[in-house]
Structures are given as C-alpha cells and as structure tokens.
Symmetry: C2
Subunit: 319 residues, 2 copies
Amino acid sequence: MPLSIGIDLGGSHLGVGLVDTTGAIQDFKEIKIDNLASPATVLTLVSDTVKEVTKKAPSVSAVGIGLPGNHDSARGITRFSPNFPSWHNVSITDPLSKSLQLPVFMLNDVRAATLGELHFGAGKGVANLVMLAIGTGIGGGVVANRQLLIGPQEAAGEVGHMTIMPNGPLCNCGNRGCLEALASGPSIAARGAEAILHGRSPKLQERVTTLGDLSAKLISEVASGGDPEAARILEEAGDALGIGIANLAVILNPDLFILGGGVALAGKPLFDAIRRSLTKHLFMLKPETISIVPAALGVRAGLTGAAAYGFLRTNTPIP
Amino acid sequence: MPLSIGIDLGGSHLGVGLVDTTGAIQDFKEIKIDNLASPATVLTLVSDTVKEVTKKAPSVSAVGIGLPGNHDSARGITRFSPNFPSWHNVSITDPLSKSLQLPVFMLNDVRAATLGELHFGAGKGVANLVMLAIGTGIGGGVVANRQLLIGPQEAAGEVGHMTIMPNGPLCNCGNRGCLEALASGPSIAARGAEAILHGRSPKLQERVTTLGDLSAKLISEVASGGDPEAARILEEAGDALGIGIANLAVILNPDLFILGGGVALAGKPLFDAIRRSLTKHLFMLKPETISIVPAALGVRAGLTGAAAYGFLRTNTPIP
C-alpha cells in the first residue's frame, strides 16, 4: 500500500506520521520544538524526524506538511505563521525536499485537518463539506465536489473571519465582529473572565484557579450545572456560530458541517445552542436538514490530512 | 457546431434562444406570458416557442431552462417559484422533454446566469468566481474549479440570505438582516421612499413621480449630483454588499466577483461604496486584490447560461 509522510508542525510540538492510503498511522514520532528557533533549526529537526520515521519504511510517495498561517504553497513558502512569529516568507518545501529526496507539499494546518476528516474521518464519502476548527482561532476548510478549495491567496476556508456582528468586538485580524472574535476559545474564556470579575458567576469562579483554567468545555459544564451566566455565555457563542453556519449553508449548501477544535469539546450544550441559532437565522433551508457533526480524528486530523495531501499531489489514489 | 436551446422563463416574459458553444445566439424569440397561467398553459407556450426556434436549426443537443425559485432539478420539478406563485412541485422537464423529444434540464435562473457569465461573459477563463445578481432579490452563483455548486437542497449560491446585520430589517425569507433586506432594489428604493416621505431629499423627490420610479440607478445619479441623503442610502447598501463580498472572499477566496442585476446599474458610485466597505471589513486579504466586475451579458446571461447547462449535462464540450 502506498505510504505518505504527514507532518503537523505546531508552535510547540512537531508530529510526524507514516500514513497509508486508508489513513492508518503506521509509525509516529512527536517531539517538542521551540517556536522561537530559526527556520533552519526547525527544518533540520523536521527532516531528521522524517528520516527516522521512514527508516524502516518501504518507499514513500510524498511528504505533506500542515502549518498554521498563510502560505504560497505553489512556491512552498510560508508568508507568515502565528506559531513562528519571526518567520516571514520562509522557504519550507525546497530545503525539505532536497534533504529528504522526496516531493514535499505544504498547506494550512486546518485545511490539512479538513482533508484528514474528508478522506479518513467524519467526512468520508461526503462530496461537499465545511469544517470549522474552533480553537485559539477559528479556521476552516471548504470541500466542493471532493476538492479542497484553496484560492489564489490561499484564504479559502478562513470562515472565522466572516463578519457576524458589524461593529462588534475587535478581532485579531483588525476587523470587528468576526466569528473568531465571538466564538473562539479565548473569546469565550474572556467572557467567562468578565463574568467572574463582575461577580456574576460564583459557580464558574469556584472551578477556576487562574484565568488559564477557563475554557469553553468548563463553561459548558458549569452551564449544564445550572449556572445562568455560563449558559448565557455559551448561548451567545452558539448564536454566533449558528449565524456563521447558516451563512455557509446558504452560500455553499454543503452535505455536512464538521466542528473540531477545543471549543467543540463543549459538546451537546454548545451544539444545542447552535441549533437554536439556526432556527432563528436560517429560513432558506429547513434548519433540521443541516447536518453538524463533531470531528472524528481529533489532533490526528492535521497529520493524516497532510499525508493525504501528499497522496493527492502525487496522483496517488486514496480509496 | 453543437447547438443548445436556452430558455429564460420569467414571470412576465419567456425568452428562447438557439445558442452555440461560443455563446452566440443564432436565433431568438421572446413572448409575453401571464404569471397566473397554469403550468400546462405555460409549458405549452414554452414548447411551441422552442419548436419555432428550432424549426430551421440542424440537430439540437439539449434544452436548458432557467427559472427563478427552488427546484429539484434531478427530478425536473420546481418546488416553488416567486414568479409563478400558484406553482408548487410542478413537473417541468418531463412534459417538455416528451413534447420536444430532446433532453431537458432545469436550474435556478441566477445559477443559469452564473454559467452564462462563466462560459461566455465576464468569467470566461476564470476557475473560481462568485456572481451576485442584485435586483428584486439578491441571488447568486458559486463556481469552484469551473464547476457550478448546486448542493443537495439546490441552495448553493443563495448569497442574498447571509445575515449581515443580526436583528436588522426583516427579509422576505423570514430572517432579519439578510443582505437582500439591506441591498436589493426594493430595499434601496424603500430607503429612498423613506427619505422623500420625511422630506430629507428634495433632489430625489424632484426626480420621482411615483414610488415606482425609485431605483438604485436613480438614487446613484442623485447622489452623484451632490445629494447627501441619496449618497448615504447608496453608502449603506454598498456597506452591506461589501460585508457580504468580504465574507465570500474569506470563505471562498475566488478569483473574481461578478455583479449583475438592476442594482449593479447604479455603477461607479455603488462600486466605490463597496470598495470602501471592503477596506473597513476585510483584513485577511488585501482589499485591493479583490476583483469585482460588472456582469457582461446583461439579460442574456440567463438564457445563454441555461443553454450552457444543456451542453454540460449532455457532455458537449464548451470551448
């Protein structure tokens, strides 16, 4: 069976997997990395780790690498990556390809995760889907007719930056009222912090030692325990996500929405709030026809999806 | 050269064209129709007109029919059409196919216009585009990798129903703050009427005999003549359209946006207002990289696009 190397290059960890065309990870290695290191240092680490993982492997078709940020993937360059703040216009694929003597392809990490879910996860067999990865930011991926959309500036799938509330809270991108500014992990946590600081949620306060303990999952648990303020915070995040999903539904009418990332771990209370929002904001389609499922592959979506991208770019069929 | 029949079935007019694979209309006939007529009456008229247009033609590959509303095109049924308020779940393609002895395919009228612009108009040679038809409503079409998106409920492209302003003005669909409720022809005209009724725009009042005279084009002309209230109305419509286009840009990152419909005739002042809105609301992409062009084919986009759909569905290559 053909094999591909999938690389998940985050700001603190590097994951390298040897993946077959069923998405099974045959071998895997994870190491810690320093996000202030130079590109040369990090790329040497990547190359060494890939060599280790491929040592015992038969021939490998390709290497796919998923990396947060915006890239010029045709030229194999990362324009910027939030995980490596000092990297600007860094060549990624050429040095790796030279060192590994293999074709190397790169793409945005959430687009990689979308391919992972499409080929091996919650989207298996689905023609048209949208993935939302709701974590520190909100990234996404759009699949039309089983093809991942990229776009000339490689911004297709940046669903976290649609405007949900004009003149709403400031987003990291500079715009106001982006979905990311209303429903990302830090946005939800910030509302939890606000509720605690104003004394509006003693139950949430009980569960938190430092502000770093605040998460959508925790707020969801406290809401389920009957705390009205936590419930309100979750409802507002769900409302914003529901508007975003309703917008995507009328624009793309996909077969499926897949929600991943840490915020999706808030589970049923969040998914229920999203459903209520769809009922309020979606009239062109019956809200009950919208399929929304949690991501199936968790943190391995990006790695297996990067490997899938390697298969796709080398015309290796994925069954 | 292969030929296809394109049909544009509106609420007041029926257009039938004999179209070749370059998009040239070889023969054309337009007749008035009564939108309260029964499906049988209208379909007989359609069939008779097609027969007349094809009389002198050599063999025709297919018939494509563009019709406002939502359809089950696989079964050839229109679920509802705003142009024919009494039609519900009416079979369109089967009776026409029997009568004409040709394969007949149907699709939403704006999706047809999108195909027209893609193959023969402003989108020629472009892989990824979004069309917005801004008229009585706001319809649209999304093309990814030169394929028109349809979706299981055939709602892909209903960009007029993305929420731009939660709790904004009521839309005909039932939602509040849809793009259509903020920037369609009647929405813009209603703001003009409001300005006149409150005495805020004597210059606009001068130009209008009845409320039916109000149009985005007229308001644009009055704005260009220095009327601040008309300018404000245009600015607000442009702001809503800019938010919608910014959302579509981060979701799809298309190569091109095409604006058609009567409102697009408001011209440069509206396009300039859209540009200002992009600068306010789009940060993930450089606003100056967004290409926005007027539709090239006008009212013939739907007819030639319906013919193109006939070619596509019968695997007839369009050069």
